[in-house]
Amino acid sequence: MSEAVAHHDDLHDHKPTGIGRWLFSTNHKDIGTMYLVFALIMFFVGGAMAMIIRAELFQPGLQYVDPLFFNSMTTMHALIMIFGAVMPAGVGLANWLIPMMIGAPDMALPRMNNMSFWILPFAFAMLLSTLFMSGGAPNGGWTMYPPLVTQLNDAFPFLIFTVHFLGISSIMGAINIIATVFNMRAPGMSFMKLPLFVWTWIITAFLLIASLPVLAGAVTMLLTDKYFGTSFFDAAGGGDPVMFQHIFWFFGHPEVYILILPAFGIVSQIIPTFARKPLFGYESMVYATASIAFLSFFVWAHHMFTVGMPLAGELFFMYATMSIAVPTGVKIFNWVATMWKGSMTFETPMLFAIAFVMLFSIGGFTGLMMAITPVDFQYHDTYFIVAHFHYVLVPGAVFALFAAIYYWLPKWTGHMYDEKLGKLHFWLSVISVNVLFFPQHFIGLAGMPRRIPDYNMQFAEWNMISSLGGFVFGLSQLLFVWVVIKCIRGGEKASDQVWEGAHGLEWTLSSPPPFHSFTTPPRVTDAVAHS
């Protein structure tokens, strides 16, 4: 325990009140809450954009929006969901849980924690303000490929600086997480005793620190290309637009794992609890996660097989991408083996976790199909791709986040959530999400490109079904908000352990936990470690 932390405890012995509690908060729980609330708001903002997209695609012909605005919607939906919803939700959970899981009073760098959160609302205000600018919001896709992105007018510098701010925020958050886990573990909490959620977050944090600065560099090059006369990506000046794609995806592929690794961690906490059985293959889980993260830096070009690469390059990236299936498979098998011969109950968190395992796997399988370069020439930039990444991100990452909220909400609030409504939320979500995304496999294979606002009649039926699924999925999420609010306001009192099969330090604290998690370091025995 470092002296600074003790010092910090002295400063904030009493709980601050009013708006100041949130604005100047250095408390990991308050900051975690703010991250989660912010993520939820952004989830609905991005979701509203998705509803506009699905409404326009409900039937052929252009009914509601101009194609340029449609492109803005797809672009902004992606940026908001990735950087505004899923990533902040992951950081929020890390803030709430890591100190409680490793037996620390708070995060290692509380003031930086505050700053990294408060950058977000300003960054997104900046991004959303572009919706009202002449020329419209960014509409060149979230991948920002030049030269298209440089055709953007007033919104261009806003887009670039938003990305910079988001990057800075995430990097600060990541540094904080690593500094906390490396320095503030309770005595006896060795690395191989860390809960998997903490492990996945250490690895995610390293991915963040290693990949986001590369994105910052790439968008800075875009900025200087447009305004300061450089030509990194401008063929006329001797640059190469394809180079941007290489640099972008060098960031972009690790980014995919930044979104999904914390989800792996969450599911690895939840399944053992409700199977009442220790996690199968803890060590192989840790190594699998680390190797997925490591491999993620060597597969980027599979996002751009169609740019025309030398044969050797295409083969290398095909083999490297296929190899990721091995550690990912290990994780899936381990989860199934954890369930095997358990004594399972199916509360809402477990339902979401099981749906995650199954539906994420479907996304993984289509991912494997796309790794096959010659076939990817057909799949690339079609709705098949859209179906694939939504399967890994919505019933994948987002379902894991729902599971986490249901799982730890009783611990955080001291009340049980309404199990009936939670289950209703689950069933509505899991059915509608499949109605929404499964048909997209078909329209993609049948030849519908992505990012188009209108289409031929042959794609009409499946698009309509997909849109209907989308509307139901969107509306179902309002139920989630209601369940959360209801739980915060009251409900059946939750015990300290909350779940019969729950293990780990966070369950030894009271529900709700004290303002400073562990003011005296707990003794870590084998019984409390490893959930």
Binding site: A108, N183, M184, I209, L212, V214, A236, I247
Partner: protein, 188 residues
């Protein structure tokens, strides 16, 4: 130093280093292109180094020429669109540009070879590419490209395409090359 600060410092350093690495990817990509021939980076060869004895007369390779103009009031044609050469032999193509406008225009040509994998076997002795070409109103210019198809060109390549695209260089920008080999347009 406190251990927390030490960790933080190291990680911050890593973040800064990765930002630098993003920029480092530019020259790395260039080297990569030189090796693989991506990006139209063809080989270079001196006329004096061409060995007439090394010509492989058993094999013929067709080379097609392609011309493109981007937002340039010029005409850009090649005399013969297709030639056949033996590997090792010096081939020649005559390109002609004419400024059809009533103002002076500076253009620059970017080369590209297809298939990309063959471009490293395509050695040029003379080329007008990457350099600025300034044409007065109505001026016409003939540009010759001499090239040698390397005898080591793999057998599966029976025909190549050499393409040039002319872009306009706005007159308020002059050209320099930075260390990475990329041209920077300086605003004067």
């Amino acid at each position: 130093m406190r251990p927390v600060n030490k960790t933080t410092g190291k990680l911050a350093l890593l973040a800064v280093a990765m930002f630098g690495f993003g920029y480092l990817l530019v020259p790395i990509y260039n080297v990569f292109c030189d090796i693989t021939g991506l990006n139209g980076k063809t080989g270079e060869i001196n006329i004096a180094d061409v060995d007439p004895m090394a010509v492989d007369r058993h094999r013929t390779v067709t080379v097609e020429f392609d011309t493109n103009l981007r937002e340039l009031p010029w005409e850009f044609v090649v005399e013969e669109r297709k030639v056949s050469v033996h590997p090792g032999e010096i081939g020649e193509a005559v390109f002609r540009v004419r400024n059809t406008s009533d103002r002076d225009v500076i253009g620059r040509a970017i080369p590209s070879v297809a298939p990309t994998q063959a471009s490293v076997y395509f050695d040029k002795t003379e080329c007008f590419c990457f350099e600025e070409q300034s044409l007065r109103a109505g001026e016409e210019k003939e540009m010759v490209v001499r090239f040698v198809v390397n005898t080591e060109l793999p057998l599966r390549f029976a025909s190549l395409v050499l393409s040039y695209t002319f872009f306009e260089v706005p007159d308020n920008k002059t050209v320099n090359r930075n260390e990475a080999g990329f041209q920077i347009k300086n605003k004067s």
